[in-house]
């Protein structure tokens, strides 16, 4: 079973160098590409008494691992100026923000609104599901296929997603593989 975290659990985590054991930044926010279903990078804050926003970003390719207690990078050169970063990291399109989007099945049922992203721990940023405020009340988690269509106000998921709505992250972790298997993705 996979261990999962939400994007809000990643915010504020220290960015720590594997080789130096130093906390060189902390996570301000995630930069997400909903069409690809993956993280493309992280925006950062400074640590300690110089706290505050830094313009440097961390492209996903430079992330060694995302854990429960820290985001690991090899060394300080992993943080880059936006002008040296890939375009989707330096200039994330704001309409790509899926938070608040309505989750519609292909059959036309609304499952709820997106409240957070769910990522696989240890990997370099695969987004495997969304946390949603369910249409009938309460919080739920839905698994994602690798790709889906997104407009900025709504996103469309396969109809069988309805059968896979989970009550917590543990349930989602247990169901992601089966969901993708059912879609013929694995």
């Amino acid at each position: 079973m996979s261990l999962l975290v939400t994007a809000s659990q990643i915010r504020g985590l220290p960015v720590v160098t594997v080789r130096g054991g130093e906390d060189i930044a902390e996570v301000r926010d995630v930069i997400y590409d909903p069409e690809a279903g993956r993280l493309v990078g992280l925006t950062l804050n400074r640590r300690g008494f110089l706290a505050g926003r830094t313009h440097d970003v961390l492209p996903v390719e430079a992330i060694h691992a995302i854990g429960q207690h820290a985001v690991m990078v090899l060394d300080a050169s992993s943080l880059v100026d936006p002008k040296d970063a890939p375009d989707d990291v330096a200039h994330p399109a704001t309409e790509r923000n899926v938070l608040g989007d309505d989750v519609l099945t292909e059959g036309g049922t609304s499952l709820g609104k997106v409240t957070d992203l769910v990522l696989l721990v240890g990997s370099s940023g695969e987004v495997v599901g969304y946390q949603i405020d369910k249409a009938d009340g309460g919080q739920g988690y839905i698994p994602l296929p690798a790709q889906l269509s997104v407009s900025g106000v709504a996103l469309v998921v396969p109809t069988i997603t309805e059968e896979f709505v989970q009550g917590d992250l543990v349930g989602l972790g247990a169901t992601v593989d089966e969901f993708r298997h059912r879609l013929g993705l694995t």
Binding site: R19, G21, I66, G67, Q68, V121
Partner: protein, 149 residues
Amino acid sequence: MNDSFGHSAGRKVVSRASAKELGKVAHLLVDAQQRRIAAVVIGRGKKAQLVEWARLSGFGPDAVMVEDEGALRPPGDDRERSAADGKLELVGRRALSERGNELGTIDDVTFDADTGALVDLVIGKRSVPAGSLLGSGSYAVVLDKSQEP
């Protein structure tokens, strides 16, 4: 013979040439990539001085012997100044896996007193081989992923 950071803290440092006591062991500065002790920090605060491992004549159970007083020098760079301030001390530091998960706190470190090579990192009741050490600094000691439960 194996010694440990915990046991050697506060041990007297003596000049082989003059038999004078020069101070006491305050910290041990580690080269994480080489997995060995790079230098011994003697004294604390502004008076802290370093002796490189190669300038020791013996790291004994009762005293750490240095060649002579000339082997002592002030910290030379930022890393050595941090070490002199105790900011790089391994014992008491959080242990992180390279996957970003906390593994506990480093309670002690054992090393070969003849060579300065690190042997084991003690985390609670576990003994982790020093070969797992990837890096260490003021925030964390980083261990490879094989040490995850």
